[in-house]
């Protein structure tokens, strides 16, 4: 049991050591974090835009179909 605790603590210390990157942790991790954020945003934004485009075009097509059918109705009423 105590061996397990010692092992886990040792792993944690190694982890902390790695995260510190010598004394440059702040510089290294902020660079990688910024890269992740910027590249994530640049990749995800067009995927979100695609959904918006589909919505907008769908509404436009519905409106056009509606206008077309109401025009047809007017024509038929005009003839009768």
């Amino acid at each position: 049991m105590s061996a397990l605790i010692i092992y886990v603590l040792y792993r944690e210390l190694k982890m902390l050591e790695m995260l510190q990157m010598g004394k440059y942790g702040a510089y290294v991790w902020s660079s990688y974090g910024l890269a992740l954020f910027v590249m994530g945003y640049v990749a995800i934004k067009p995927l979100m835009d695609k959904k918006l485009i589909f919505k907008e075009l769908m509404m436009k097509y519905r409106r056009e179909a509606h206008q077309l059918s109401s025009k047809k109705q007017e024509q038929e009423q005009g003839q009768s």
Binding site: M18, M21, G22, K23, Y24, G25, Y27, V28, S30, S31, Y32, L34, A35, V38, M39, V42, A43, P46, L47, D49, K50, I53, F54, L57, M58, K60, Y61
Partner: protein, 253 residues
């Protein structure tokens, strides 16, 4: 000879047709996307945890695995943008204009990353966030060129005129690319010289070169995936009155 050229042009015009481009790019994007993700994860883990510590810079040099690929991409994407703009102007292929316009924000993002990670790296190593040395200054000008491209496109109403103006801007700005590359040779710079992109064996250890190349390839595939997504959106929107678009939108994907 003339008929070979004719059939090549027919091939290009066929795939440059918006409808075919939309269909084919839809199939390609997941491949490029997932491959890019895997390469970027593998490269980052290798670079952060497995590449050896530098005897001069310690662990801070690990920023290189973001900084250098981003800088390479900032230049590569600009060349794609300028070439696509030229093709669009010369052969009046609308898809080329779409690719140029779709590339600009991605290139700007890479340039921004290269500049900022370089600055973050420079602070502990050089003691300065910024110096007006040739490499840094010309890369900053590259960022202004990208932003100029995007601003010019937004400022001109007619899409064809906008594409033409932006293409000219991109082409004129190409001169900046060899300036960036050779700046460390031509001038007395603080930024270090070329270790990989030169006509000689790379002067970097293989254990550091591998994560660098993994990240470089990952960034490239990422660019292709993202530019295709953006281009598809533009194509769909511009061609919205065409029946093939109506079919796709009504089908939901």
């Amino acid at each position: 000879m003339k008929s070979i050229w004719k059939s090549v042009m027919k091939f290009i015009y066929h795939f440059a047709s918006p409808k075919h481009f939309y269909r084919i790019s839809g199939k390609l994007i997941p491949w490029f996307g997932w491959l890019a993700a895997m390469l970027l994860i593998a490269g980052s883990i290798d670079g952060l945890f497995f590449a050896p510590v530098d005897y001069q810079q310690g662990d801070s040099y690990r920023i290189i695995f973001i900084h250098v690929p981003a800088a390479w991409m900032s230049m590569f994407v600009y060349m794609v943008m300028a070439t696509a703009g030229a093709i669009g102007m010369i052969w009046k292929i609308k898809l080329a204009d779409v690719v140029a316009s779709s590339s600009a924000p991605i290139g700007a993002a890479f340039t921004f990353l290269a500049l900022v990670t370089g600055s973050i790296w420079g602070k502990p190593m050089w003691g300065a966030w910024w110096v007006w040395d040739a490499r840094l200054t010309s890369e900053l000008i590259l960022l202004f060129l990208y932003l100029g491209f995007m601003a010019l496109e937004a400022a001109i109403e007619d899409p064809r005129a906008a594409a033409r103006a932006c293409a000219i801007l991109a082409i004129v700005g190409v001169i900046n690319i060899p300036i960036i590359h050779y700046s460390v040779e031509w001038w007395n710079t603080l930024h270090q010289g070329a270790t990989v992109t030169k006509f000689d064996k790379p002067s970097i250890h293989i254990s550091m070169l591998i994560p660098l190349l993994l990240m470089a390839l990952g960034f490239k595939l990422y660019y292709v995936a993202v530019v295709l997504v953006r281009a598809r959106n533009k194509v769909l929107y511009t061609e919205q009155n065409n029946s093939w678009v109506k079919e796709i939108v009504k089908a939901g994907g």
